[in-house]
């Protein structure tokens, strides 16, 4: 019998052992590059002008060394893969992230001190790379710590610390904070609109999925139509919705009195719901078929009515699949809602598109960051619920 190479090499040399050390070295190299060579801040005369770059050593001074040192220690502890070491690494990475942000804030304030009030300090590529590397390592530390609940606590702790940092005014000099301060009301309203858009579409798609799951004969046709709809690019479906809506409003003018218009949230919600219907319908049909025949026969033998079988047997057993489908649909809906701004539906997409039109990076970020945060929170939250449902009903 021929055995693969990794089986016969001495343990100390196998790829599996060397790889973590290699990845850790590459990670540390990238972090050093981001902190010392790449621009962490760009200082510009105004919000649209191109700026001069400042490297980490220039903008952060001693903080850069501190962050690098803490991270090197943390990544060394992470390579060991031991659970306690990972917890220590976590408590090194968390302050490193906050120290880095604080350093950016003070560095920006110092650089802007002698300039005109219109001058802006934006985040450069070095900052983004540093933050990505540090949060990635933080995620790995949470995973390797194998302590249930630590991930949630870390996430909440990080959010609270960030809010505290923002509140204290330490970040006020950063361009993103200046932009947010100028548009606080608009951004907050857009977040609400965005959630409303995605939420309404999700509910509409859910109702549609339930309706479609009801008629048994046509399931093949339903699969074909919903599958075909997925092929249509979202930009095209939104355009088609606007054309159809304006035709409909012209044919039935009374609809206009109900507050409908060709542009606005309604066509966007219908288009988004059309995409979300497939994952929800598929999840629902799989969930209803999840219990095996023996279980169903046992339920029947106990004298449960079809309605009781649905509520007490089919839905609980299918619950994880159903929650999984809702998770996929909800994340997709939040993404598609961004595109809704194209047809005047509002939401965070409007801020993103305004930023693109003005070529203002901070404005784009102001719209993009909440979209990503909302999607990630939804993803994490619903996958937790999915896991809980699996534990509860499939123990």
């Amino acid at each position: 019998m021929i055995v693969g190479t990794t089986d016969i090499t001495p343990q100390g040399l196998s790829i599996g052992r060397v790889l973590p050390a290699l990845v850790a070295t590459a990670w540390l190299g990238a972090l050093a590059l981001a902190l010392t060579r790449l621009p962490v801040l760009t200082i510009a005369r105004n919000r649209l002008a191109l700026g001069d770059s400042l490297t980490g050593s220039a903008a952060l001074g001693g903080t850069a060394v501190l962050v690098l040192g803490m991270s090197a220690l943390a990544i060394g502890l992470l390579v060991s893969r031991r659970s306690t070491a990972s917890v220590i690494a976590l408590f090194l990475l968390l302050p490193a992230i906050l120290a880095f942000l604080h350093g950016l804030g003070t560095g920006a304030a110092r650089s802007l001190a002698e300039l005109s009030p219109a001058a802006r300090a934006g985040l450069g590529s070095g900052s983004w790379l540093t933050l990505t590397l540090l949060t990635g390592a933080l995620g790995l530390a949470v995973r390797h710590s194998r302590r249930p609940g630590l991930g949630l606590a870390t996430g909440l702790g990080l959010i609270l610390a960030l809010v505290g940092l923002g509140w204290s005014g330490a970040l006020d000099a950063l361009s993103l904070a200046v932009e947010y301060a100028a548009r606080r009301a608009t951004v907050n309203a857009a977040i609400g609109e965005h959630i409303a858009l995605a939420g309404t579409a999700l509910v509409l798609a859910g109702l549609l999925a339930v309706g479609l799951a009801l008629f048994r004969r046509g399931q093949g046709l339903v699969a074909l139509i919903l599958g075909g709809l997925q092929v249509v690019p979202a930009v095209a479906l939104l355009g088609a919705m606007v054309a159809v809506m304006s035709g409909l409003l012209r044919a039935v003018p009374t609809l206009r009195e109900l507050g409908l218009s060709a542009l606005g949230p309604v066509p966007a919600i219908i288009a988004i719901a059309a995409y979300l219907a497939l994952p929800l319908w598929r999840g629902l049909s799989l969930a209803l078929r999840a219990p095996d025949d023996d279980t169903l026969q046992a339920a029947e033998a106990l004298g449960l009515s079809p309605g009781q079988v649905l509520v007490r047997v089919r839905l609980p057993i299918g619950a994880p699949i159903l929650v999984g489908a809702v998770r996929v649909a909800a994340v997709q809906g939040l993404g598609l809602a961004t595109l809704g701004a194209l047809v005047g539906a509002g939401g965070l997409g409007r801020i993103v598109f305004d930023g693109m039109a003005q070529f203002a990076p901070d404005l784009i970020l102001l719209g993009a960051i909440p979209v990503v945060v909302l999607s990630l929170l939804t993803e994490r939250g619903l996958s937790r619920l999915e896991a809980a449902a699996r534990r509860r009903w499939h123990a």
Binding site: L342, P361, I364, E379
Partner: protein, 240 residues
């Protein structure tokens, strides 16, 4: 009627609807004024640009996604699987429009931000699909390959990949549809694609142009999907 044929016919019908004359009829039937339709030559130019952008993106996504998918199923990568799955889920939380928007200040207007969005959003589903398909190969078959003296590379090439192929093709179909949709979104960043008449039509309230773009983009998606399905069906006939 089989799905590829249905998709092909839908695509052809939509392509017909994007013709200036037909689009003008539809617009007038909707009661909108039919102004300045997009000429056939311009539509064909945009189609070529759209296909080029989506094609390059899809090729990158396929090579990187399948390559990395194979890598993560190798033994040495086993401990990294949960981290990679977590990364895949996180990458899906950043919608293509947002990637296009974020890349705009760095990469400038046009194709590059669109291409980045295409790769960033498409690579993880293909990676995950490939890894899932290879992991789904029954261990007995792999053991049998080992027993007859195949090396790891031979097991991959002769057993794992052929058995995983149908599932990998399914993920590539998703990636193809995604590539065409993202190329349309790229119009927002100034890339010249079939999304351009839609975005411009919405801004200038030019319903004909918007309808033409809409029909042409959807037609392209349906025809490309049908072509991929037909290619796979043809492949199965030649090498059953």
């Amino acid at each position: 009627m089989s799905a590829p044929l249905g998709f092909a016919l839908t695509g052809l019908a939509l392509a017909g609807a994007s013709h200036p004359t037909v689009a003008r009829w539809i617009t007038e039937a909707l009661g909108e004024p039919a102004r300045r339709p997009v000429s056939v030559e311009r539509l064909l130019d945009l189609t070529r640009a759209h296909l080029a952008l989506a094609g390059i993106g899809l090729a990158l996504v396929a090579v990187l996604g399948i390559g990395l998918g194979i890598l993560v199923t190798r033994r040495f990568a086993e401990p990294w699987r949960p981290a990679i799955d977590g990364l895949a889920a996180a990458a899906q939380a950043v919608p293509p429009v947002v990637v296009v928007a974020l890349a705009l200040p760095v990469l400038g207007f046009g194709g590059p931000p669109t291409l980045l969005a295409l790769v960033a959003y498409g690579i993880m589903p293909v990676l995950r699909g490939t890894a899932g398909a290879i992991t789904g190969v029954p261990p007995e078959v792999r053991e049998a390959g080992r027993a007859i003296g195949l090396t790891r590379l031979q097991i991959l090439a002769r057993i794992e990949l052929p058995l995983a192929a149908p599932a990998i093709v399914e993920t590539l179909r998703t990636a193809l549809v995604l590539a065409i949709a993202t190329a349309a979104v790229g119009a927002l960043a100034g890339a010249s694609t079939l999304g351009t008449p839609i975005v411009a039509g919405l801004q200038n309230q030019n319903t004909v142009a918007m309808l033409q773009g809409t029909a042409a983009t959807a037609a392209l998606a349906f025809l490309a999907d049908a072509a991929l399905l037909a290619a796979v069906a043809g492949w199965r006939v030649i090498r059953p």
